[in-house]
C-alpha cells in the first residue's frame, strides 16, 4: 500500500448516519486527511475519482442498480469495508424482510405501489429484501453499529494503514456493560439483547443512557453457545427466545448466521 492511500466513500440505502459520524470526528477528520487521500465522499465533496484503494460502503443493497454500483466499487478497490449495520448485515432496513413485499409497498405507496410491478418504472425496481454488501461481493472488514462509533472507525483505519487486521471483537455487549458498571436491563424488567449482541465498540451506550441494547451491532459469533449464558440462565431466557424476541436489526442475519459470507442471493 502506498504511503497515502486513496479512500472513497459510497452510500446505498441508509440514513447516512455513519458518514455523519465520520464528519463528527471534527478536528480529527483533518488529521485523517493527513494520512489518507479522500477521493470520493458525495455527502461532503463534489470531486469523484474511480482511482482508490480502500472503499467504505454504507447502507444496505436494495435494488439491482445498487448491485451494479457495488460491483463496480468492488472491482476498483483493493479493500472494501462495510460501515454501519445496514451495510454489514442489512440492519434496520431488513425489518421488512419478514413482511410480505406486496403489503410493504402498499403500506408505503398506497395505490401507487403498482409501480413496483411496472418494468418501465426503473426507480421502483426494488428487491423484496434489504441485504448487506457481503451478500453480493466480498467484503474484507466490517465496522458495525447504528451508527458506527467514530473511535472504532479510526481504530479500523489505523490498523489497516499499519498492515494490521481490524477484525471484530467477539464478546457480547454484556461485557462492556459490566465495565460501564450499568445496572443490568433484565434487573430493571426489560428484555435486553446485550447477551447475544456483538460488543467491543459501543461501550454499551444504550444501556448506559438508560435504555436497553437493541442489537444494533449484530449477532455475536456463535450466540447459541458462547452468549453470556449466566445472564440468560439467571433470567430464565434462552438464546432462541431472545433471538425471536427482536427482529429490529437481525432479519437478514438470523437467516444467514452472524459470519455469513457471500452467497448466492436471488437478484
Amino acid at each position: 500500500m502506498t504511503s497515502k492511500p486513496k479512500v472513497a466513500f459510497f452510500d446505498f440505502a441508509g440514513c447516512e448516519g455513519d458518514q455523519l459520524e465520520i464528519i463528527n470526528l471534527e478536528e480529527r477528520l483533518l488529521d485523517l486527511v493527513e494520512v489518507v487521500e479522500v477521493v470520493s465522499f458525495r455527502e461532503a465533496m463534489s470531486e469523484h475519482s474511480d482511482d482508490y484503494e480502500i472503499a467504505f460502503v454504507e447502507g444496505s443493497i436494495t435494488t439491482p442498480h445498487d448491485v451494479e454500483r457495488l460491483e463496480e466499487v468492488r472491482s476498483n478497490a483493493d479493500t472494501v469495508i462495510a460501515i454501519g449495520s445496514c451495510a454489514a448485515f442489512g440492519g434496520i432496513n431488513s425489518i421488512r424482510n419478514e413482511q410480505d413485499f406486496q403489503t410493504v409497498t402498499e403500506r408505503a405507496y398506497g395505490e401507487d405501489a403498482a409501480m413496483f410491478d411496472d418494468p418501465d418504472a426503473e426507480l421502483f425496481d426494488s428487491f423484496e429484501q434489504a441485504q448487506p454488501a457481503k451478500a453480493f461481493v466480498e467484503v474484507e472488514y466490517e465496522v458495525p453499529g447504528c451508527p458506527i462509533d467514530g473511535e472504532e472507525f479510526i481504530q479500523t483505519v489505523t490498523a489497516i494503514l499499519q498492515g494490521g487486521d481490524p477484525s471484530l471483537a467477539n464478546h457480547p455487549v454484556c461485557v462492556d456493560c459490566k465495565l460501564a458498571e450499568n445496572t443490568c436491563a433484565f434487573d430493571r424488567g426489560e428484555i435486553c439483547l446485550g447477551p447475544i449482541t456483538r460488543g467491543g465498540g459501543c461501550d454499551a451506550t444504550c444501556v448506559s443512557q438508560g435504555t436497553r441494547c437493541w442489537g444494533c451491532r449484530g449477532l455475536v459469533d456463535n450466540p447459541a453457545e458462547d452468549a453470556y449464558s449466566e445472564v440468560l440462565q439467571e433470567y430464565g431466557v434462552t438464546t432462541d427466545e431472545l433471538l425471536n424476541e427482536f427482529t429490529l436489526y437481525w432479519s437478514w442475519q438470523r437467516e444467514h448466521g452472524p459470519q455469513a459470507d457471500m452467497q448466492e442471493v436471488e437478484q
Partner: protein
C-alpha cells in the same frame, strides 16, 4: 446565442441523499428541466407496523442520520398524542434544547461543509482547510457545539437514546448544563467569524426571486420549532389534524412526479419559511445577523435560505442559553438513571409535527390497545420542497440559458443545495418517470 444544453443525471453532490438535475435544450429552446429524486425506497411506513409504541421512535430515527433527533421526537410526539401522554415542563425544555442542538449542527454542516465551498469556488471543504484554515476550524467548533448540545441532553449525537415516550430515560446534571451554557456563551466570536465570511461572499448568491407560499409551525409564545401549529404565509393558521390536506400529495400531469401543494402550485418549508413566518420572534443577536445581510421578511429568494440558516444559528444559541437558564432557575428535578415514565398504553391515532432543520415534519401513527402500530405515515420536508425546487428551476433556467452549460449546472446545483434537501429520508417519495429520458443512475 442559442446553444444545445444537456445536463443529465449526475448525482448532485454535497446534499444528503441522491438527487439529479436534468436540463435539455436545443438551439436555446428548453425541452426538459427536471429535478429527480433517485433514492432507493426504504419503506419505513411498513417497517413500523407491528412494532411496539416504545420502539417506533427508535426505528424512525433511522430515516435520517442528520436529523435523527427530530425524527425521534416527532415519532414520540405522535405516539404521545395517540395515547394522551403529557410531558413535564422540564422535559419539554430539555427536548427543545436537544432539538436546538440538532438544528445548530445541521445548519452549520450545511452552511459550512456543503454550501460554503460553492461560494469560495472550492469543490469541498477539504481544500478549504488550506485556503481558509481559520474559518474551517471555526465551522468545526460550531458544528461540535451543536453535537455537544445533543450529547449532553440526549446522550449521543446520532440516534440518541435518552428521549423516550413520556420524557427521558436519563437527564443531564446541572453541572453539565452549566458547562454547556459556558460553551454556548463562548461561541459568539465563532458565529461572528462565520457571519463575516458569508457576508464577504454574499455577492456570490444568485439574485433570483419567485413568489411562493411558506409553510412552517407558528407559536404565540416563541419562534416555533418544537411546539406550535402549522401556518401558511398565504392562508394563516392551519389544523395539524388536517396535515394530509396541508401537504396534499398529488400527481401532476405534466410531470408524473408526486408533488405537494397547498394554496398554490408549490410551497417552501425550512429556515427561510420559518424566518418569513416568525421573524418577529427571533432573538436580538439573530435579528442583528439578519440586519447585516439586509434580510427582511418576506424574502422570496431561495438562495437566501442559507442566510436564514445563519440567522437561526444565532437564534438557536440565544435560545439554548435561555432554556438552560430557565431549567437551572427552577432547579433541575433529578430522576433515576434508568427512568421509565408512567405511560398508560391505549389505542389511538396521533399526529406529531416538529420543525426539522429542513422544514416542517409530520409523523402519524395508529396504535391498537396493546400499543402496537397498525399504520404509520411520515411526510418529510424535502418531499414538500420538491415542487418548489422544480418550479424555481423552470423559472430560473430560461433566464440563464445563454450561459455556458457548466455555469447553468453550477447555479442549479447551488439552488438544490440551498434547499438542503435531505433525500435519504425520502420515506415514501414518489418520483415516477415514464418517459425515455430517464437518466442513467
Amino acid at each position: 446565442m442559442s446553444q444545445d444544453i444537456d445536463i443529465e443525471g449526475d448525482l448532485v453532490t454535497r446534499v444528503e441523499g441522491h438527487g439529479e438535475i436534468v436540463v435539455n435544450a436545443t438551439d436555446g429552446q428548453l425541452e426538459a428541466c427536471e429535478w429527480h429524486v433517485v433514492e432507493s425506497p426504504r419503506f419505513f411506513e411498513s417497517m413500523v407496523v407491528g412494532r411496539d409504541w416504545d420502539e417506533i421512535h427508535h426505528i424512525v430515527s433511522r430515516i435520517c442520520g442528520i436529523c435523527s433527533v427530530t425524527h425521534t421526537m416527532t415519532g414520540l410526539k405522535a405516539v404521545e398524542d395517540a395515547m394522551g401522554v403529557e410531558l413535564s415542563e422540564q422535559d419539554v425544555k430539555l427536548r427543545k434544547l436537544a432539538l436546538a442542538g440538532e438544528t445548530l449542527q445541521s445548519h452549520v454542516l450545511h452552511l459550512g461543509y456543503l454550501a460554503l465551498p460553492d461560494l469560495v469556488g472550492a469543490k469541498s471543504v477539504v481544500p478549504m482547510a488550506n485556503t481558509h484554515e481559520e474559518e474551517v476550524r471555526t465551522v468545526i467548533r460550531l458544528h461540535k457545539l451543536g453535537n455537544e448540545l445533543i450529547e449532553t441532553v440526549a446522550g449521543r449525537s446520532t440516534h440518541a437514546q435518552r428521549t423516550i415516550p413520556g420524557g427521558f430515560s436519563q437527564l443531564p446534571s446541572e453541572a453539565e448544563l452549566r458547562d454547556l451554557r459556558a460553551s454556548l456563551e463562548g461561541s459568539w466570536n465563532d458565529v461572528e467569524t462565520v457571519v463575516d465570511l458569508v457576508l464577504s461572499l454574499a455577492d456570490e448568491l444568485p439574485e433570483f426571486t419567485r413568489e411562493t407560499e411558506f409553510i412552517s409551525l407558528t407559536d404565540p409564545d416563541e419562534y416555533a420549532l418544537y411546539n406550535g401549529v402549522p401556518y401558511s404565509s398565504d392562508t394563516g393558521e392551519l389544523d395539524l389534524a388536517d396535515y394530509r390536506e396541508i401537504v396534499n400529495e398529488h400527481v401532476v400531469e405534466q410531470s408524473t412526479a408526486k408533488f405537494t401543494k397547498h394554496n398554490r402550485d408549490s410551497y417552501m418549508v425550512g429556515a427561510l419559511a420559518r424566518f418569513n413566518n416568525n421573524y418577529e420572534q427571533l432573538g436580538p443577536m439573530a435579528t442583528a445577523v439578519a440586519d447585516r445581510f439586509g434580510l427582511k421578511p418576506v424574502c422570496h429568494n431561495p438562495y437566501l435560505n442559507n442566510v436564514a440558516q445563519l440567522v437561526e444559528t444565532a437564534h438557536l444559541i440565544e435560545r439554548s442559553i435561555e432554556l438552560i437558564d430557565s431549567v437551572l432557575e427552577s432547579g433541575l428535578e433529578a430522576q433515576s438513571d434508568y427512568h421509565k415514565p408512567d405511560v398508560d398504553v391505549t389505542a389511538g391515532q396521533g399526529v406529531g409535527a416538529i420543525e426539522a432543520p429542513r422544514g416542517i415534519l409530520f409523523h402519524e401513527y395508529t396504535l391498537d390497545e396493546t400499543g402496537t402500530a397498525l399504520e404509520g405515515n411520515c411526510v418529510i420536508p424535502t418531499n414538500q420542497n420538491h415542487a418548489n425546487i422544480q418550479l424555481d428551476m423552470e423559472r430560473l433556467v430560461p433566464t440563464i440559458i445563454d450561459q455556458p452549460e457548466g455555469e447553468i449546472e453550477h447555479t442549479l446545483e447551488m439552488l438544490v443545495r440551498a434547499y438542503d434537501p435531505c433525500i435519504s429520508c425520502s420515506t415514501h417519495y414518489l418520483d415516477v418517470e415514464f418517459v425515455d429520458t430517464l437518466p442513467e443512475r
